[in-house]
Amino acid sequence: MIYIYSFLFAGFISMIGQLILDNTKLTPGHITSLFVIIGSALDIFNIYDKIVTYVGGGALVPITSFGHLLIHGGMVGASQSGFIGLAMGMFDLTASGITSAIFFSFIFSLFFRPKD
């Protein structure tokens, strides 16, 4: 059942992005930025947390989960050391994703040439 929810949620988010892309002048860069902001905004009142427990991996794959993980890491830091912890813990959960993206991009760019 969780697979069906994953399929529907991830597909729904992608479809909204595609509809915005087709019907407005916004570029993919605008849309991904917008979705990250939406993801962190949904987490003010724990809404995205509930979606993640209900939907599972389907909610962690779209870029909205990036905003969710940023605010979540900030909250873990804040519970330990107050307001300054918000900045300390901000990248805790997304660090693995950003680090691996940078590392793999650099390594692959050493070995491969651009193809046209």
């Binding site: 892309l21 991996g57 650099f106």
Partner: protein
């Protein structure tokens, strides 16, 4: 049309007004294509979501990880696959076909970084690769951090942490 609007001396009269051109474009744009794009994005995006859930189940079962750790492994795996496919050259065709179905999932983030890194490598490692790698991914990180900081502040004040 952006190029046309910059030209000032229109002697032959073959340069249209911007609004007129837009109207013509809108009339001749096929409508069914948009619906088709949305359906393709829905199917591909949903498939990537199911792959993510399958990977979480796989890692938590075979490597005996907690669900939180398994989801981090899943994100790293997807980033690795997207970077590799971009470097091998066939991810661009998939993105052209699926559009937001692959841009909105975390694969789009890795794709933008790897393609920028490979594209600008010829301009040098510092001024080319280093300066241009975050051109697209940088906006995601910037607006993510700014919004998470503001909303985190609100959440701390309203809900008192937790």
């Amino acid at each position: 049309m952006y190029i046309f609007s910059k030209i000032e001396n229109n002697k032959n009269g073959d340069i249209m007004e911007k609004k007129l051109y837009q109207k013509l474009v809108m009339e001749h744009r096929p409508d069914e294509k948009r619906g088709q794009n949305a359906v393709i994005a829905f199917l591909i995006g949903g498939t990537v979501g199911v792959i993510g859930e399958l990977l979480i189940e796989f890692y938590s079962y075979y490597l005996e990880l907690s669900r939180a750790d398994a989801s981090i492994f899943m994100i790293i795996t997807l980033i690795f696959l997207a970077s590799l496919c971009t470097a091998l050259g066939f991810f661009d065709k998939w993105v052209k076909f699926a559009k937001c179905g692959l841009i909105i999932p975390i694969t789009g983030f890795a794709h933008s970084m790897t393609s920028a890194a490979i594209e600008y490598k010829k301009e040098g490692f510092v001024t080319g690769l280093g300066a241009n790698m975050f051109k697209l991914a940088g906006t995601v990180i910037l607006y993510g951090v700014v919004s998470a900081y503001i909303f985190g502040f609100i959440r701390l004040i309203v809900m008192g942490g937790a």
